[in-house]
């Protein structure tokens, strides 16, 4: 999972041939690889219009927020559960920031249909960062170790960080790029917290 997120990061940075080791280190050692909820999808971003990028980001944040909130409810360890509640509210704040940005771009307040008025999300409101399905991921975390859940979250946050870095690069000469710099900065802090927790638990 983490390796797919890494591969996605490399691809969007322009690396030409990137391969993720199928089944990870377990498969390499000849052990049975664990099934993961990833759909084998990486962020690619052929989105050209800024408002499309903003709508996409809002939508993905929405999925991640739902995922984190539900994981927070399910976890038994209070400190980790608190962290997930914090992550969920951070994603909610990001959504508000993205809405403000959309107003700047569009000049009009988003209507009730946002982001559906910008990108087609029919029957697809179950997707979060990395193109992962929220329902699949929630099913997967059931009965998993805290380390495994942290590993999945780390992959999500890497995708998210990468998405905002990409947006910042694309909009580099526009004032709005600072918004993406702030967002990527926050995602980076999440990455650091999740990384150190995972390091403690592996």
């Amino acid at each position: 999972m983490r390796s797919r997120a890494a591969a996605a990061t490399l691809e969007s940075a322009g690396f030409k041939q990137v391969y993720s080791l199928e089944g990870g280190i377990r498969a390499w050692k000849g052990l049975v690889a664990e099934k993961t909820p990833e759909s084998g999808i990486a962020y690619f971003s052929p989105a050209t219009k800024p408002e499309e990028m903003v709508a996409l980001a809002w939508f993905l944040e929405n999925g991640s927020r739902r995922f984190y909130a539900e994981v927070s409810r399910r976890l038994n360890e209070p400190d980790i559960s608190d962290l997930y509640a914090e992550l969920a509210s951070a994603e909610e704040r990001h959504q508000a920031t993205l809405l403000d940005l959309y107003r700047e771009f569009g000049g009009t307040p988003p209507n009730d249909g946002f982001p559906k008025s910008i990108i087609s999300v029919e029957n697809e409101d179950d997707v979060m960062e990395g193109g992962m399905r929220v329902s699949e991921a929630l099913q997967w975390v059931q009965g998993k170790s805290t380390a495994a859940v942290l590993g999945l979250s780390l992959a999500l946050e890497t995708n998210s960080y990468d998405l905002y870095l990409t947006m910042e690069r694309r909009l580099q000469d526009q004032p709005s790029s600072r918004v993406f710099r702030d967002l990527s900065g926050e995602e980076k802090q999440h990455l650091e917290r999740l990384s150190s927790l995972l390091e403690e638990r592996t």
């Binding site: 890494a6 490399l10 990870g24 193109g131």
Partner: protein, 73 residues
């Protein structure tokens, strides 16, 4: 455009393909990156793999040559 149209599949290689590739190519011809934690890396890693934990990768891209094939795990 649909949500999933914004995404593209990551390519994966089964262990056998990776083994053959590592055997047939010199170490300076590819990037082999372990994106797990330092602890996981210490417990055992692929020969010649460089450790870059996934959370640090976006900021450490300059350490890798984008023109070379890159294998991550």
């Amino acid at each position: 455009m649909k949500i999933l149209d914004y995404f593209r599949r990551v390519s994966t290689w089964p262990p056998e393909t990776v083994r053959t590739f590592l055997k047939e190519n010199r170490e300076d011809e590819y990037n082999l990156v372990d994106v797990r934690t330092p602890k996981e890396y210490e417990e055992g890693h692929l020969p010649g793999a460089r450790l870059i934990p996934v959370g640090e990768l976006p900021d450490r891209l300059a350490e890798l040559d984008p023109a070379k094939p890159t294998i991550v795990y």
